[in-house]
């Protein structure tokens, strides 16, 4: 376990040294991941809520599809987005390949089904409780979805965190569409992969520890805010 403790010490050292390059990589990681989670929520929350709250033909198929898409392999998503954004691809004119925007797109594709599928479950359970009351009030479909999303907000925060976890951890998609370019598209996970391939295992592990620390910090902050909001407001 020598390597592990060495890596731990080195991780602490890396953070304390506040190395400019490391800060840049952490910054880009957070920017890409948080943007992707935000975009995934914009898509996944209404989509999941619609599938959870409405009865329509093909609803079971949609549920199965959402749940299955939760397990999309990042490399496959990376390849799909690469082929789309490639200069020879349909959206090549946008010139997004090997930019953070491409990485955000790839991670959004990866995370949106997770957000949608988990939202579907949360909203469906809540709707079972609210449906008669809403029908009695004559609430329209849009009003129903809005009210369900708002009343499920604390559970949905956990859903967003699940998406954040997935985006933070994945390397396959951002590697392919970002290219792991120094000072342009290098993020924590691709930096870890790079240092591993250079045989700098301790540094790679130290970066991994830093990544875990960031994930814990973000999740902890959100959960603390959530807990105090729940305490202060609604039961």
């Amino acid at each position: 376990m020598d390597g592990f403790w060495g890596a731990l010490a080195r991780a602490v050292g890396l953070i304390l040294a506040w190395d400019a390059e490391l800060i840049e990589i952490i910054g880009l990681s957070l920017r890409v991941t948080l943007s992707a989670v935000a975009a995934a929520c914009l898509i996944g929350l209404p989509l999941g809520a619609a599938v959870g709250a409405f009865r329509f033909p093909g609803r079971i198929a949609a549920t199965v599809a959402l749940n299955a898409l939760m397990g999309l392999p990042p490399v496959v998503v990376g390849l799909m987005v690469y082929l789309t954004l490639s200069a020879s691809g349909p959206l090549g004119v946008l010139g997004l390949l090997y930019t953070p925007a491409a990485m955000i797109v790839a991670q959004t594709v990866l995370v949106a089904p997770i957000v949608a599928a988990l939202t579907r479950q949360v909203v469906e359970e809540l709707d079972r409780e609210y449906a008669e009351q809403f029908a009695s009030l004559g609430l329209g479909p849009l009003g129903r979805v809005r009210a369900l999303l708002w009343d499920a907000r604390y559970a949905l925060l956990t859903v967003a965190l699940a998406g954040f976890g997935r985006a933070t951890a994945e390397v396959g998609a951002v590697m392919i569409v970002g290219g792991n370019i120094d000072h342009a598209t290098r993020v924590m996970t691709t930096a870890i992969a790079l240092e591993t391939s250079k045989g700098n295992l301790e540094l790679a592990l130290a970066l991994g520890v830093v990544l875990i620390a960031i994930a814990v910090a973000v999740t902890g902050t959100v959960m603390t805010l959530r807990a105090s909001a729940v305490r202060m407001a609604y039961g």
Binding site: E132, A135, S136, L137, G138, G143, D151, A233, Y234, G235
Partner: protein
């Protein structure tokens, strides 16, 4: 005789091969106070949901003031469930939400919510999360929310069944106030005393059929049907009298 607010004719509901509501005819006049009673499983709650339009009947017809119920019928009716369904928001926000769903404007919403708070004596709890109220306070809020929407017809599905006597009386007081304002009431209850206090007419259901109707309190004192008699006397009764 005034034109009925709501009328049902030949109302049937089938599920799982069984006929749970079987040919019910009913008319509810403006300002009426109807108590729906019957044994467990007689179809009381189901009938209420059919009349309120939460469930589609398998056969038969429901008319709102002589016409098929539409948006106006929805706006003019409200329902209180046995277990109050409250949003995960404050007491005040629950009231405003219902008013918004009914299309009330912002200023109107705020004013009517405050009135309802005072009427239900919930004004000091206005900021509290609705789901942290006591059971009695929750049901008062549910009734206040229904009444804030100014319905002409209020359905109540065993509104005091899970409350202590004092809370039940507070809820009954709200219902009486509403009737005094001219709201028609259809109340499902197991409690003969409550039926006498809040009802003018009895509809006694037995296995999905109307076994007996009559004016209260007399109808409960001398029931004509075997089903109602058995129920009043506390005997077991297993099927419709044929």
């Amino acid at each position: 005789m005034a034109e009925p607010l709501l009328s049902a004719s030949g109302l049937c509901f089938e599920a799982g091969g069984g006929r749970l509501i079987d040919g019910v005819d009913l008319a509810i006049r403006p300002g009426a106070r109807v108590a729906v009673m019957g044994a467990n499983g007689a179809g009381k709650s189901l009938l209420l949901r059919l009349l309120h339009g939460l469930i589609r009947p398998s056969a038969g017809e429901i008319l709102w003031r002589g016409r098929p119920p539409g948006r106006e019928a929805r706006q003019a009716q409200a329902m209180v469930f046995q277990r109050p369904v409250l949003l995960r928001r404050s007491v005040r926000a629950n009231l405003r939400f219902a008013l918004a769903a009914r299309g009330a404007g912002r200023a109107d919403r705020i004013a009517r919510a405050e009135q309802a708070l005072v009427r239900a004596r919930l004004d000091r709890l206005a900021q509290r999360p609705a789901r942290l109220l006591s059971a009695g306070e929750q049901q008062r809020l549910a009734v206040a929310r229904a009444l804030a929407c100014a319905p002409r017809l209020l359905f109540l599905d065993e509104p005091t069944a899970s409350l202590d006597p004092a809370s039940a009386l507070a809820v009954e007081a709200l219902i009486r106030d509403a009737h005094a304002d001219g709201v028609a009431i259809v109340l499902v209850t197991h409690d003969a005393g409550q039926a006498r206090r809040l009802g003018d007419e009895l509809v006694f259901l037995d296995a999905g059929r109307v076994a007996e109707t009559g004016a209260l309190p007399g109808a409960l004192e001398a029931p004509r049907s075997e089903a109602a008699r058995a129920w009043v006397e506390g005997r077991l009764h297993t099927g419709p009298a044929r």
